[in-house]
């Protein structure tokens, strides 16, 4: 099992007047090479669940095992190391550094790993070619189109060959053609062995044939209709 959550609860500002329970007793299991769609209204706890599965922070209680490692009581430094080895992120706003070139944006996760510039470039160029953005290699990331930004974000999420890809509202800023293209890339990645979790309201995502399961979140709990 690649992801296993059991009675996972996350409380922000615990013990303070502004205490908020974002997730409550969530249990789920996600196997390798599956594609999951996470649905839920704004404030439902979707992003918190994504953050726990992304090793951004451990749960307040319950257990969360990602790629064989328990996150509970894991120090921040080891969470970071586990995150960069396991998770590739694709964000709603793409979260690229706009003044950095496309190539430099893609290789960002490799810098703290001590990987040499030639190897970084080689890995990035292979992905750029695969995602058809080689012609934008030296462009500042802020000066390319939305669809190209999305592909740069995908390339960055794949550069370290992590087994899990987490995408938060990846099609929110794309038109339907580009959204379909994005889902096709994800479907191809699933075939290559990746596990993909996409948080999205978009029906183009939830109704895509490559989606294996839809998980609904409501008020911090998994909602079964």
């Amino acid at each position: 099992m690649l992801i296993e959550l059991k009675d996972t609860t996350k409380i922000y500002n615990q013990g303070k007047p502004n205490e908020v329970t974002a997730l409550s007793d969530v249990s789920l299991r996600i196997e390798e090479q599956t594609m999951i769609c996470l649905q839920g209204a704004s404030g439902s706890g979707k992003s918190t669940l994504l953050a726990i599965m992304g090793c951004v922070f451990p749960p307040t209680s319950g257990s969360a095992a990602i790629a064989g490692k328990q996150l509970s009581r894991m120090p921040d430094r080891f969470l970071t190391i586990h995150r960069r080895e396991t998770i590739g992120f694709i964000f709603q706003q793409f979260n690229l550094l706009p003044r950095l070139s496309v190539l430099d944006n893609i290789t960002l996760p490799l810098l703290p790993l001590g990987i040499s510039p030639p190897e970084r470039k080689a890995r990035a160029r292979k992905l750029m070619e695969h995602l058809s953005i080689s012609h934008r290699e030296s462009f500042p990331a802020g000066q390319i189109s939305g669809g190209e930004m999305q592909r740069v974000a995908i390339a960055r999420a794949l550069i370290n060959n992590q087994p899990i890809i987490l995408a938060d509202e990846p099609t929110a800023h794309l038109d339907s053609r580009l959204s379909m293209e994005f889902m096709q890339i994800m479907a191809d990645l699933k075939k290559e062995g990746k596990t993909i979790i996409i948080a999205s309201h978009d029906t183009l995502v939830s109704e895509h044939p490559a989606i294996d399961k839809i998980i609904n979140i409501k008020d911090g709990r998994i909602h079964v209709p």
Binding site: S47, G54, T80, R83, L108, P109, P117
Partner: protein
């Protein structure tokens, strides 16, 4: 191709990212670097100027007699009879007593004030060493009348050029001619720049001092630890005299430089504090764009230490470059522009002297001092807030 260790490769990657980060915010970083260079320039100029002044003073004071005796009357100095030398013969421990004539000569045509000094340098212990203070020639011998050694700017002010003869007026306005037999070196400019050294008899003649008198007596002592005791004995034997020891004269110089350097230090420290506040505010990476960037890097797997290393490299590069620019500009300011911005503060009394050339001294200690008071506070002012900022949770990037 040789394999680079992972740790070193990681540092090179971090340095590479820091350079590109500096370039991405070039206007802001250029502004900080300019202000920082200016602060280091001021600090460096002040340090080099103080060093130049004190080393010049120390070099010349090295040849100052251990004890100087001056006759006082109604609180003013007057000529001392040479017969006083005999009165001091009874004091054990005195190595030599050398009569000296000195005074000021005001040149009305150039409005310059020269210092005239006359003594038999051959009678001084280590007197031969005095020749080292000359760039050319020798000191007038005891019997060599009508000759003089000139300080650097006396030669210029009298517009001698290649001529080796000049004249000065006696009090009765008759002219007395001198042959130039030596020139002082630049290193002794602080105290010799306005100096004319001549034979004792010539100085008496120039100032119309009776042949039995001189202006003061220079006493050299065999054992340096006995100076204070001997000075007290002299003061007891010659109650109408003022007895000055070498250390008292040195202290006078130190006090003159110390209060000025203290004043300048306060001004510079204020500038440094102001700069530290500016650095904290502007270079701490707390702008929303930079905060967002840190959030993105953290979620992509950068550790707090990696982000801190980038900020450290950025600050080191900015401060190292500012340090080099500031110190180089300070050296040029002191060496080639005569420290024109700070000299009025540090050498206020020089307005009554002919101008003198400063030779800046740069020691490793000076550079370390400047580094400690500029680069280290800057690193602290930038890296500490960056550390606070880099400890923000990475989920800020996915919210």
């Amino acid at each position: 191709m040789a394999m680079i260790p992972k740790g070193l490769e990681k540092q090179l990657n971090t340095l590479d990212f820091a350079l590109s980060s500096l370039w991405r915010r070039k206007l802001k970083n250029l502004g900080i670097m300019m202000v920082f260079s200016l602060v280091i320039f001021l600090l460096g100029s002040f340090q080099m100027l103080t060093g130049a002044l004190t080393s010049s003073a120390d070099a010349v004071l090295e040849n100052t007699p251990e004890i100087t005796i001056q006759k006082m009357s109604a609180g003013r100095q007057e000529a001392i009879p040479q017969t006083y030398i005999k009165k001091l013969n009874s004091i054990y421990g005195i190595r030599a007593i050398i009569p000296r004539v000195w005074g000021y000569y005001f040149d009305e045509s150039t409005l310059a004030n020269f210092t005239v000094l006359a003594l038999d340098h051959n009678a001084m212990p280590n007197g031969s060493k005095l020749n080292l203070t000359l760039s050319d020639g020798h000191f007038p011998k005891k019997t060599e009348t009508g000759t003089a050694v000139l300080g650097g700017s006396v030669q210029d002010i009298l517009e001698l050029g290649d001529r080796r003869v000049f004249s000065l007026f006696r009090p009765d306005l008759s002219l007395k001619s001198f042959q130039v037999v030596g020139i002082f070196s630049k290193q002794t400019d602080l105290l010799t720049n306005d100096l004319i050294v001549m034979n004792v008899d010539d100085a008496r003649d120039l100032f119309a001092i009776p042949t039995s008198h001189v202006t003061d007596l220079c006493v050299y002592v065999a054992n340096p630890t006995e100076i204070e005791t001997i000075a007290k004995k002299i003061a007891g034997l010659l109650p109408d005299t003022r007895v000055l020891t070498k250390s008292q004269i040195q202290k006078t110089y130190q006090v003159v430089f110390s209060w000025r350097s203290g004043f300048a230090s306060i001004c510079l420290l204020t500038a440094l504090v102001a700069f530290a506040i500016l650095a904290w505010d502007k270079a701490s990476g707390l702008s929303p764009e930079e905060k967002r960037e840190i959030g993105i890097l953290k979620i992509l797997g950068w550790e707090t230490g990696d982000i801190l290393a980038v900020r450290f490299w950025e600050s080191t590069l900015v401060s190292a470059l500012a340090f080099i620019i500031g110190c180089t500009a300070a050296y040029i300011h002191v060496a080639f522009f005569d420290a024109s911005l700070l000299k009025p503060v540090m050498v206020g009394w020089s307005v009554i002297h002919p101008p003198f050339k400063l030779l800046p001294t740069v020691t490793l200690a000076d550079l370390l001092l400047i580094f400690t008071f500029s680069v280290l506070p800057y690193l602290g002012a930038t890296v500490i807030p960056a550390w606070r900022c880099s400890t923000v949770p990475p989920d800020s990037a996915i919210r």
